[in-house]
């Protein structure tokens, strides 16, 4: 698999990282305090030494890479500039206004898989494996692997067992962040074929404060299994806010104007092989759906 392995944090953390204050008795479950890091950096496994490197030491200052970068970024810049003359997002204005649905990711050929990152609990020391390949006739994306929920034997991690596929951040020229704007749609539409396992869809939106960068909106994706394709429509109002794998008390509807990534996570604790085939991922406008948010956003009593 030539796909780059994820180095950032996985999209949904089903594990809980605990730091051991003192280990009083060796045999019992660690008396651990879930401690929240002040600076939310990337996950460092327990026992792993801190990386003693300057930030610029990992950068490749290659001349040919620089040339390639210049070529790529100026092409993007040119495209960005000329797209404005055609209309919003490079489409004529009439098309943009009358748009009822949009296909965001369509899996046609191996290069469409380049926009995706797969990761599993191997990063935290687990044993799950996940791979991504084009489907049988090259027109789908086939995510497969083995799930193993054996937690790593580091004495701190209590849960393990997840496999994830996440789309890459959309980038404009010179590596500026670009977002998807789905504010004219209200439903996520997928065509998948699974094996009966429940998955989770995670949508990450752009946030303002840095402590919100792991805020993810999630919902469940239940697959039927079997040889038939399954069209799934999930209204965006159903997505609930989670942070680092924990559902939040303070819920908030998903703002669709700046969507960064979408991800699929499996973590149903059923050890064994799994597969998920995705045909396309799109958004659509469902006029019959008027709900704004499925969960209570008012102040509750007791306020939890």
């Amino acid at each position: 698999m030539s796909l780059p392995k994820l180095t950032r944090l996985p999209s949904a953390r089903l594990l809980i990282i605990n730091h051991l204050h003192q280990q009083l008795l060796p045999s019992i479950t660690p008396l651990s305090v879930p401690r929240r890091a002040l600076i939310q950096g990337k996950y460092r496994r327990p026992g792993q030494p801190k990386e003693d490197k300057f930030p610029w030491e990992g950068i490749n200052f290659d001349f040919s890479k620089g040339l390639e970068g210049i070529k790529k970024h100026f092409t993007l810049l040119k495209k960005e500039f000329y797209d404005r003359w055609v209309g919003p997002e490079g489409k004529p204005i009439i098309e943009h206004m009358l748009e009822q649905n949009r296909v965001i990711w369509e899996f046609r050929g191996a290069e469409s898989l380049q926009h995706w990152i797969v990761s599993s609990d191997k990063e935290i020391g687990g044993q799950s494996e996940v791979y991504l390949k084009p489907g049988k006739n090259g027109n789908t994306c086939f995510l497969y692997g083995t799930l193993s929920s054996t937690p790593p034997r580091d004495g701190e991690t209590r849960y393990s067992g997840y496999c994830t596929m996440r789309s890459k951040q959309l980038l404009a020229s010179f590596d500026r962040k670009k977002h998807y704007d789905w504010s004219s749609f209200n439903t996520l539409h997928l065509r998948v074929r699974g094996d009966g396992r429940p998955w989770m869809i995670n949508i990450a939106a752009e946030t303002y404060f840095s402590h919100q960068k792991d805020d993810i909106y999630s919902y469940f994706l239940y697959t039927r299994g079997g040889p038939y394709w399954q069209d799934i429509k999930i209204p965006f109002s159903k997505f609930f806010l989670t942070h680092r794998g924990r559902i939040q008390d303070d819920q908030h509807p998903l703002w669709l104007d700046k969507i960064n990534t979408i991800g699929f996570t499996l973590g149903d604790k059923a050890d064994g092989p799994f597969q998920l085939e995705i045909d396309f991922i799109g958004v659509s406008k469902d006029y019959a759906h008027t709900e704004e948010f499925a969960y209570e956003a008012y102040k509750r009593n007791p306020e939890i």
């Binding site: 019992i28 479950t29 009439i94 009358l98 239940y222 394709w229």
Partner: protein, 455 residues
């Protein structure tokens, strides 16, 4: 020297009630002289009252003599006590009754329930072994181990700071394990939590969160799977085939029931079950299939129902190439009551197109599906011959077996049937098992087979 110093220090220890330092003192004492022990025990018994203990505690202050001995015994042993307790009590059987017995023993052992946090952690860890991880009553009983009213904050300062953090964490972890196993707490849990930790403690918050979210997501699965799957493999196959076929017209046929036969040579032969599903539209599609194009038996494909994995097989054909494909014109006389084709122009606007702009995936039609616990070619051949009774075209169509040997190794449940597999299967299938990596395609001489069927 050290003894006397320790004895001098004892009053301060008494005031703080910190058992750790006490133990330190005791160890020092014990190392120096044995005669001091009795003195120490007396002082120790006086010390036992915790600073935050409830008013109930002082009543039980007098400590019986045998308790004292038991304590000594325990201290002589290792620090690992509770895991050990579970192992000792439930030596032969691990069940709910023995688990409850262990908890009872712990409750009776010490009035003050010393080390209850460690005990609860050990019990939580042992729960899957005793297969009680989905029993609400057991969780409530474990929660009952916590002493009542001791950890309830009494003033605003205690409420502001994390009062008895270790105990609260333990309570939260217990609730978290309930959550992970899908156990919904009940009112008894709530009453216990209020008694133990108070109204606004962290475990109480956790309880409220569970009770807020669990009912919301209870019926969210559109394809629900019962918690207790049917034990009979035929029933299980029936259930899963109706699930994946998603067609109310589809008819399930049990081609073969599982049974065990004894041959003359005394060999035991297990006949696997074969359950198939086919809908009328699939039969119609198969009847229209061009006999010169082969059909394929593919599989095994996995299907997960909660934590069990089943495998199914599919009879399908390749998609027609675009030049062969013929659009069948609608025959308006086929149905005189309802029009089969509506060509109404309902003034659709430009933006009224609600279909997605994606190329349709044509993967070829699926004609039938089956489930068996024995995925070799001989068994699937029986399925095809069973299908042939309702679909006579299968006698003319060449049938290819594209059986993947891969997942069969992963099947944990059916290992016994696999072991007997190589004895009976034909040499072709055996050859396929030797190369499990690649997809095995066996061309059947269909004429011979269909002749054989017809005899």
């Amino acid at each position: 020297m050290t003894c006397s110093r320790c004895l001098l220090r004892l009053p301060s220890v008494i005031l703080r009630g910190q058992s750790a330092r006490l133990v330190q003192c005791r160890i020092l004492l014990r190392s120096t002289s044995c005669s001091q022990i009795s003195v120490l025990h007396n002082t120790h018994n006086q010390v036992l009252r915790l600073f935050h203990s409830s008013p109930v505690c002082p009543k039980s202050r007098p400590v019986p003599a045998e308790f004292n001995n038991e304590e000594k015994e325990k201290k002589d042993k290792s620090l690992i006590t509770h895991d050990d307790l579970f192992e000792r009590v439930a030596k032969e059987t691990k069940s709910k009754a023995t688990f409850n017995k262990v908890v009872d023993i712990f409750l009776k052992r010490d009035v003050r329930r010393r080390g209850h946090v460690e005990f609860i952690y050990a019990a939580l860890k042992k729960m899957p072994e005793f297969s009680v991880e989905r029993e609400l009553a057991v969780y409530n009983k474990l929660l009952d181990v916590f002493p009542k009213e001791v950890f309830v904050p009494r003033n605003f300062i205690q409420r502001m700071f994390n009062h008895y953090p270790r105990q609260q964490e333990c309570g939260v972890q217990l609730l978290e394990q309930m959550e992970a196993n899908g156990v919904v707490p009940n009112i008894e849990t709530k009453v216990l939590l209020v008694q133990i930790f108070g109204e606004k403690s962290h475990p109480m918050r956790k309880y409220q969160r569970i009770m807020y979210w669990f009912p919301r997501f209870k019926h969210v699965n559109p394809f629900p799977v019962p918690r207790q799957l049917p034990g009979d493999p035929v029933d299980l196959a029936r259930f899963s085939l109706t699930r994946i076929a998603n067609d109310l017209d589809a008819k399930i046929t049990v081609y073969q029931l599982p049974h065990t036969d004894l041959t003359e040579s005394g060999e035991e032969i297990t006949v696997p079950h074969i359950v198939g599903i086919q809908s009328p539209s699939q039969m119609e599609m198969l009847a229209r299939h061009n006999p010169s194009r082969p059909v394929f038996v593919e599989g095994p494909f996995p299907l997960w129902l909660r934590k069990t994995c089943l495998y199914y097989y599919v009879l399908r054909a390749d998609p027609l190439p675009s030049d062969v494909k013929i659009e069948e014109p609608y025959d308006p006389d086929r149905c005189l009551i309802y029009p089969l084709q509506l060509d109404l122009d309902l003034d659709r606007d430009l933006g009224d197109d609600e279909s997605f702009d994606v190329d349709d995936l044509d993967e070829g039609p699926v004609f039938a599906m089956c489930m068996t616990n024995h995925g070799d070619q001989a068994t699937l051949n029986q399925w095809i011959s069973g299908l042939q009774q309702n679909n006579p075209i299968l006698g003319q169509v060449p049938t290819l077996f594209r059986l993947d040997a891969g997942p069969r190794e992963l099947q944990g449940v059916e290992t016994d049937s696999q072991q007997s597999h190589p004895h009976r299967s034909d040499p072709k299938a055996q050859r396929g098992e030797m190369q499990p990596e690649e997809e095995e395609i066996i061309m059947e001489e269909e004429l011979k087979r269909s002749q054989g069927m017809k005899q």
